[in-house]
Protein backbone atom coordinates (compact mmCIF):
# COMPACT_ATOMS: atom_id res chain seq x y z
CA UNK A 1 0.00 0.00 0.00
CA UNK A 2 0.99 3.60 -0.48
CA UNK A 3 2.85 4.95 2.55
CA UNK A 4 0.03 7.42 3.27
CA UNK A 5 -2.46 4.52 3.32
CA UNK A 6 -0.02 2.47 5.42
CA UNK A 7 0.05 5.20 8.07
CA UNK A 8 -3.71 5.73 8.00
CA UNK A 9 -4.54 2.03 8.39
CA UNK A 10 -1.88 1.59 11.07
CA UNK A 11 -3.68 4.33 13.01
CA UNK A 12 -7.05 2.67 12.43
CA UNK A 13 -5.77 -0.68 13.68
CA UNK A 14 -4.22 1.03 16.70
CA UNK A 15 -7.50 2.74 17.60
CA UNK A 16 -9.49 -0.49 17.25
CA UNK A 17 -6.87 -2.47 19.26
CA UNK A 18 -7.23 0.14 22.01
CA UNK A 19 -11.00 -0.44 22.00
CA UNK A 20 -11.85 2.96 20.48
CA UNK A 21 -14.66 3.25 17.94
CA UNK A 22 -13.48 4.31 14.48
CA UNK A 23 -14.85 5.21 11.06
CA UNK A 24 -13.42 5.43 7.58
CA UNK A 25 -14.48 8.03 5.00
CA UNK A 26 -13.73 7.56 1.30
CA UNK A 27 -14.17 9.88 -1.70
CA UNK A 28 -16.25 7.73 -4.07
CA UNK A 29 -17.04 10.23 -6.81
CA UNK A 30 -15.94 13.66 -7.89
CA UNK A 31 -17.12 16.24 -10.41
CA UNK A 32 -15.31 19.34 -11.52
CA UNK A 33 -12.20 20.55 -9.76
CA UNK A 34 -12.19 18.60 -6.52
CA UNK A 35 -8.88 18.62 -4.70
CA UNK A 36 -8.63 14.94 -3.70
CA UNK A 37 -9.12 12.03 -6.13
CA UNK A 38 -11.54 9.13 -5.82
CA UNK A 39 -10.35 6.66 -3.19
CA UNK A 40 -8.91 9.33 -0.85
CA UNK A 41 -9.40 8.36 2.79
CA UNK A 42 -10.01 10.12 6.08
CA UNK A 43 -10.04 8.01 9.26
CA UNK A 44 -11.61 9.22 12.50
CA UNK A 45 -11.61 7.85 16.05
CA UNK A 46 -14.29 8.21 18.71
CA UNK A 47 -12.64 11.32 20.14
CA UNK A 48 -12.64 13.09 16.77
CA UNK A 49 -8.92 12.57 16.10
CA UNK A 50 -8.42 12.20 12.37
CA UNK A 51 -5.80 11.37 9.77
CA UNK A 52 -5.88 11.72 5.98
CA UNK A 53 -8.09 14.01 3.89
CA UNK A 54 -11.10 13.97 1.57
CA UNK A 55 -10.74 17.58 0.37
CA UNK A 56 -8.36 20.48 0.65
CA UNK A 57 -9.67 20.92 4.19
CA UNK A 58 -13.05 22.55 3.48
CA UNK A 59 -15.41 19.61 4.21
CA UNK A 60 -13.36 17.69 6.78
CA UNK A 61 -15.31 19.14 9.71
CA UNK A 62 -18.66 17.95 8.36
CA UNK A 63 -17.24 14.52 7.45
CA UNK A 64 -15.81 14.05 10.95
CA UNK A 65 -19.19 14.96 12.44
CA UNK A 66 -20.91 12.39 10.21
CA UNK A 67 -18.24 9.82 11.10
CA UNK A 68 -18.95 10.23 14.81
CA UNK A 69 -22.66 9.60 14.09
CA UNK A 70 -21.87 6.54 11.98
CA UNK A 71 -19.80 5.07 14.84
CA UNK A 72 -22.94 5.26 17.01
CA UNK A 73 -25.53 4.10 14.46
CA UNK A 74 -23.30 1.48 12.74
CA UNK A 75 -25.14 2.51 9.55
CA UNK A 76 -22.97 3.72 6.66
CA UNK A 77 -23.76 7.08 5.08
CA UNK A 78 -23.20 8.60 1.66
CA UNK A 79 -22.53 12.35 1.91
CA UNK A 80 -22.51 14.83 -0.93
CA UNK A 81 -20.88 18.24 -0.96
CA UNK A 82 -20.94 20.84 -3.68
CA UNK A 83 -21.68 24.45 -4.48
CA UNK A 84 -25.23 23.60 -5.57
CA UNK A 85 -26.07 22.53 -2.03
CA UNK A 86 -26.91 25.34 0.37
CA UNK A 87 -25.67 23.48 3.43
CA UNK A 88 -22.48 22.48 1.64
CA UNK A 89 -21.96 26.08 0.60
CA UNK A 90 -21.70 26.93 4.27
CA UNK A 91 -19.28 24.05 4.72
CA UNK A 92 -17.66 25.42 1.61
CA UNK A 93 -16.04 23.65 -1.29
CA UNK A 94 -14.20 26.78 -2.38
CA UNK A 95 -12.86 25.06 -5.48
CA UNK A 96 -16.33 24.78 -7.02
CA UNK A 97 -16.17 21.00 -7.29
CA UNK A 98 -18.59 18.39 -6.02
CA UNK A 99 -17.72 15.22 -4.11
CA UNK A 100 -19.48 12.19 -2.71
CA UNK A 101 -17.98 10.75 0.47
CA UNK A 102 -18.88 7.31 1.83
CA UNK A 103 -18.57 6.97 5.61
CA UNK A 104 -18.50 3.55 7.28
CA UNK A 105 -17.83 2.25 10.77
CA UNK A 106 -14.70 0.13 11.23
CA UNK A 107 -15.36 -3.05 13.24
Amino acid sequence: MHADDDTLFANLRGWRAAGKPAALATVVSTWGSSPRPEGSHLAVDGDGHFIGSVSGGCIEGAVIEAALQVMQSRQPRLLEFGVSDEQAWQVGLACGGRVQVFVEAVE
Binding site: M1, H2, D6, V28, P76, A105, E107
Partner: protein, 231 residues
Protein backbone atom coordinates in the same frame (compact mmCIF):
# COMPACT_ATOMS: atom_id res chain seq x y z
CA UNK B 1 -15.32 -2.24 7.20
CA UNK B 2 -15.05 -5.60 8.93
CA UNK B 3 -12.14 -6.59 11.17
CA UNK B 4 -11.03 -9.36 8.79
CA UNK B 5 -10.81 -6.86 5.91
CA UNK B 6 -8.68 -4.59 8.10
CA UNK B 7 -6.41 -7.55 8.92
CA UNK B 8 -6.15 -8.56 5.26
CA UNK B 9 -5.18 -4.99 4.32
CA UNK B 10 -2.40 -5.10 6.93
CA UNK B 11 -1.16 -8.39 5.48
CA UNK B 12 -1.16 -7.00 1.92
CA UNK B 13 0.73 -3.95 3.15
CA UNK B 14 3.41 -6.09 4.82
CA UNK B 15 3.82 -8.38 1.79
CA UNK B 16 3.74 -5.56 -0.80
CA UNK B 17 0.69 -7.12 -2.49
CA UNK B 18 -2.07 -5.24 -4.29
CA UNK B 19 -5.66 -5.55 -3.02
CA UNK B 20 -9.04 -4.12 -4.06
CA UNK B 21 -11.90 -3.52 -1.61
CA UNK B 22 -15.32 -3.32 -3.33
CA UNK B 23 -18.06 -1.60 -1.32
CA UNK B 24 -21.80 -1.50 -2.10
CA UNK B 25 -22.63 2.07 -1.10
CA UNK B 26 -26.28 1.32 -0.32
CA UNK B 27 -25.49 -0.87 2.70
CA UNK B 28 -21.69 -1.01 3.10
CA UNK B 29 -21.42 -4.70 2.13
CA UNK B 30 -17.88 -5.45 0.99
CA UNK B 31 -15.69 -7.99 -0.72
CA UNK B 32 -11.95 -8.20 -1.33
CA UNK B 33 -10.44 -8.91 -4.74
CA UNK B 34 -6.81 -9.95 -5.04
CA UNK B 35 -4.73 -12.06 -7.41
CA UNK B 36 -6.42 -15.20 -6.03
CA UNK B 37 -9.98 -13.94 -6.60
CA UNK B 38 -12.93 -12.60 -4.61
CA UNK B 39 -13.70 -13.17 -0.89
CA UNK B 40 -16.23 -11.63 1.50
CA UNK B 41 -19.97 -11.14 1.95
CA UNK B 42 -20.61 -9.03 -1.18
CA UNK B 43 -21.32 -11.29 -4.15
CA UNK B 44 -20.34 -9.94 -7.57
CA UNK B 45 -21.11 -11.10 -11.11
CA UNK B 46 -18.15 -12.46 -13.07
CA UNK B 47 -17.92 -9.25 -15.10
CA UNK B 48 -17.71 -7.09 -11.99
CA UNK B 49 -14.96 -9.29 -10.51
CA UNK B 50 -13.05 -8.95 -13.80
CA UNK B 51 -13.47 -5.16 -13.66
CA UNK B 52 -12.18 -5.08 -10.08
CA UNK B 53 -9.26 -7.33 -11.09
CA UNK B 54 -8.36 -4.84 -13.85
CA UNK B 55 -8.29 -2.05 -11.24
CA UNK B 56 -6.07 -4.30 -9.08
CA UNK B 57 -3.51 -4.27 -11.89
CA UNK B 58 -3.78 -0.57 -12.71
CA UNK B 59 -3.89 0.52 -9.07
CA UNK B 60 -6.76 2.90 -9.88
CA UNK B 61 -9.83 3.36 -7.65
CA UNK B 62 -13.21 3.85 -9.37
CA UNK B 63 -16.91 3.07 -9.37
CA UNK B 64 -17.66 -0.23 -11.11
CA UNK B 65 -19.48 0.38 -14.41
CA UNK B 66 -20.68 -3.24 -14.50
CA UNK B 67 -22.11 -3.04 -10.96
CA UNK B 68 -23.69 0.41 -10.42
CA UNK B 69 -23.57 1.62 -6.82
CA UNK B 70 -20.36 -0.24 -6.05
CA UNK B 71 -17.02 1.52 -5.49
CA UNK B 72 -13.70 -0.27 -5.87
CA UNK B 73 -10.76 1.04 -3.85
CA UNK B 74 -7.38 -0.23 -5.05
CA UNK B 75 -4.51 -0.50 -2.58
CA UNK B 76 -1.11 -0.86 -4.21
CA UNK B 77 2.35 -1.19 -2.66
CA UNK B 78 3.94 2.14 -1.77
CA UNK B 79 6.68 3.28 -4.12
CA UNK B 80 10.16 2.50 -2.85
CA UNK B 81 13.40 4.37 -3.24
CA UNK B 82 16.67 2.48 -2.89
CA UNK B 83 19.62 4.81 -2.31
CA UNK B 84 23.08 3.35 -2.92
CA UNK B 85 25.67 5.38 -1.04
CA UNK B 86 24.98 6.88 2.39
CA UNK B 87 26.45 10.22 1.27
CA UNK B 88 25.59 13.82 2.11
CA UNK B 89 22.88 14.10 -0.58
CA UNK B 90 21.33 10.87 0.72
CA UNK B 91 20.97 12.41 4.18
CA UNK B 92 18.48 14.94 2.83
CA UNK B 93 17.01 12.81 0.01
CA UNK B 94 15.97 10.00 2.39
CA UNK B 95 13.67 12.06 4.66
CA UNK B 96 12.30 14.11 1.72
CA UNK B 97 11.34 10.96 -0.18
CA UNK B 98 9.79 9.45 2.97
CA UNK B 99 7.67 12.59 3.34
CA UNK B 100 6.57 12.21 -0.29
CA UNK B 101 5.25 8.72 0.50
CA UNK B 102 8.22 6.56 -0.48
CA UNK B 103 9.54 3.63 1.52
CA UNK B 104 13.25 4.50 1.62
CA UNK B 105 16.19 2.13 2.10
CA UNK B 106 19.77 3.43 2.18
CA UNK B 107 22.38 0.84 1.19
CA UNK B 108 26.06 1.22 2.05
CA UNK B 109 28.41 -1.41 3.49
CA UNK B 110 30.65 1.32 4.92
CA UNK B 111 29.55 1.59 8.53
CA UNK B 112 30.99 5.08 8.94
CA UNK B 113 28.62 6.32 6.23
CA UNK B 114 25.46 4.28 6.89
CA UNK B 115 25.22 5.01 10.60
CA UNK B 116 21.97 5.66 12.49
CA UNK B 117 23.53 8.89 13.78
CA UNK B 118 23.76 10.21 10.22
CA UNK B 119 20.38 8.73 9.19
CA UNK B 120 18.00 8.93 12.17
CA UNK B 121 14.83 6.93 11.57
CA UNK B 122 15.93 5.75 8.11
CA UNK B 123 16.01 2.07 7.14
CA UNK B 124 19.70 1.21 6.57
CA UNK B 125 21.34 -1.79 4.96
CA UNK B 126 25.04 -2.53 5.52
CA UNK B 127 25.02 -5.20 2.83
CA UNK B 128 26.91 -4.85 -0.45
CA UNK B 129 24.48 -3.38 -2.99
CA UNK B 130 24.18 -6.56 -5.08
CA UNK B 131 23.26 -8.57 -1.95
CA UNK B 132 20.80 -5.95 -0.73
CA UNK B 133 19.07 -5.64 -4.12
CA UNK B 134 18.78 -9.42 -4.47
CA UNK B 135 17.15 -9.58 -1.03
CA UNK B 136 14.82 -6.58 -1.51
CA UNK B 137 13.69 -7.45 -5.04
CA UNK B 138 13.45 -4.92 -7.85
CA UNK B 139 9.89 -4.20 -9.00
CA UNK B 140 8.10 -1.61 -11.12
CA UNK B 141 7.10 0.38 -8.01
CA UNK B 142 10.74 0.90 -7.05
CA UNK B 143 13.33 3.54 -8.00
CA UNK B 144 17.09 3.32 -7.51
CA UNK B 145 19.68 6.05 -7.27
CA UNK B 146 23.43 5.39 -7.21
CA UNK B 147 25.04 8.24 -5.30
CA UNK B 148 28.23 6.74 -3.84
CA UNK B 149 30.67 7.99 -6.51
CA UNK B 150 32.45 4.67 -5.95
CA UNK B 151 32.29 2.17 -8.83
CA UNK B 152 32.71 -0.69 -6.35
CA UNK B 153 29.28 0.22 -4.92
CA UNK B 154 27.48 1.91 -7.81
CA UNK B 155 28.37 -0.52 -10.62
CA UNK B 156 27.07 -3.75 -9.05
CA UNK B 157 23.82 -1.93 -8.22
CA UNK B 158 23.45 -0.61 -11.78
CA UNK B 159 24.26 -4.02 -13.27
CA UNK B 160 21.28 -5.50 -11.42
CA UNK B 161 19.08 -2.43 -11.92
CA UNK B 162 19.41 -2.09 -15.70
CA UNK B 163 17.75 -5.40 -16.70
CA UNK B 164 15.02 -5.03 -14.02
CA UNK B 165 11.57 -3.40 -14.18
CA UNK B 166 12.57 -0.50 -11.86
CA UNK B 167 10.65 2.60 -12.92
CA UNK B 168 13.60 4.93 -12.39
CA UNK B 169 17.38 4.53 -12.35
CA UNK B 170 19.60 7.53 -11.64
CA UNK B 171 23.35 7.86 -11.16
CA UNK B 172 25.24 10.79 -9.72
CA UNK B 173 28.44 11.96 -11.34
CA UNK B 174 30.02 14.40 -13.73
CA UNK B 175 29.79 13.88 -17.47
CA UNK B 176 33.30 12.42 -17.42
CA UNK B 177 32.45 10.08 -14.53
CA UNK B 178 29.36 8.96 -16.39
CA UNK B 179 31.28 8.33 -19.63
CA UNK B 180 33.67 6.05 -17.78
CA UNK B 181 30.71 4.34 -16.12
CA UNK B 182 29.09 3.74 -19.51
CA UNK B 183 32.33 2.19 -20.79
CA UNK B 184 32.36 -0.26 -17.86
CA UNK B 185 28.68 -1.14 -18.30
CA UNK B 186 29.23 -1.67 -22.05
CA UNK B 187 32.11 -4.00 -21.20
CA UNK B 188 29.74 -5.85 -18.85
CA UNK B 189 27.37 -6.45 -21.78
CA UNK B 190 24.71 -3.98 -20.64
CA UNK B 191 25.36 -1.35 -23.30
CA UNK B 192 21.90 -1.46 -24.85
CA UNK B 193 20.26 -0.73 -21.49
CA UNK B 194 22.41 2.19 -20.36
CA UNK B 195 19.93 4.68 -21.86
CA UNK B 196 17.72 3.91 -18.86
CA UNK B 197 20.13 5.70 -16.52
CA UNK B 198 19.20 9.29 -15.71
CA UNK B 199 22.52 11.15 -15.74
CA UNK B 200 23.14 13.95 -15.04
CA UNK B 201 20.75 12.95 -12.28
CA UNK B 202 17.76 15.12 -11.35
CA UNK B 203 15.83 17.94 -12.96
CA UNK B 204 17.96 20.93 -13.91
CA UNK B 205 16.98 23.27 -11.08
CA UNK B 206 20.40 24.94 -10.90
CA UNK B 207 21.02 24.26 -7.19
CA UNK B 208 24.39 22.94 -6.05
CA UNK B 209 23.85 22.36 -2.33
CA UNK B 210 23.24 18.71 -1.30
CA UNK B 211 19.65 19.44 -0.25
CA UNK B 212 18.98 21.27 -3.52
CA UNK B 213 20.33 18.34 -5.52
CA UNK B 214 18.15 16.02 -3.41
CA UNK B 215 15.07 18.09 -4.37
CA UNK B 216 16.00 17.87 -8.06
CA UNK B 217 16.47 14.08 -7.82
CA UNK B 218 13.16 13.56 -6.00
CA UNK B 219 11.41 15.87 -8.48
CA UNK B 220 12.71 13.81 -11.40
CA UNK B 221 11.65 10.54 -9.75
CA UNK B 222 8.13 11.93 -9.19
CA UNK B 223 7.97 13.19 -12.78
CA UNK B 224 9.04 9.84 -14.24
CA UNK B 225 6.63 7.95 -11.99
CA UNK B 226 3.63 9.98 -13.15
CA UNK B 227 4.60 11.10 -16.64
CA UNK B 228 6.92 8.32 -17.78
CA UNK B 229 10.60 8.32 -18.69
CA UNK B 230 10.02 10.35 -21.87
CA UNK B 231 8.76 13.35 -19.87
Amino acid sequence: MKADALARLAEAQAKRQALVVVTRLADGAQCLVDAAGRTGELQLATGAVAEAAALLLSGRSASLTSEPGCFARAYVPSPRLLIVGAVHIAQTLAPMAATAGYEVIVIDPRGAFASPDRFPGVQLSDEWPDEALARLGLDAATALVALSHDPKLDDPALELALPSTLFYIGALGSRRTHEKRLERLHAAGLGELTGRIHSPIGLDLGGRAPAEIAVSILAEIIQVRHRGAAA
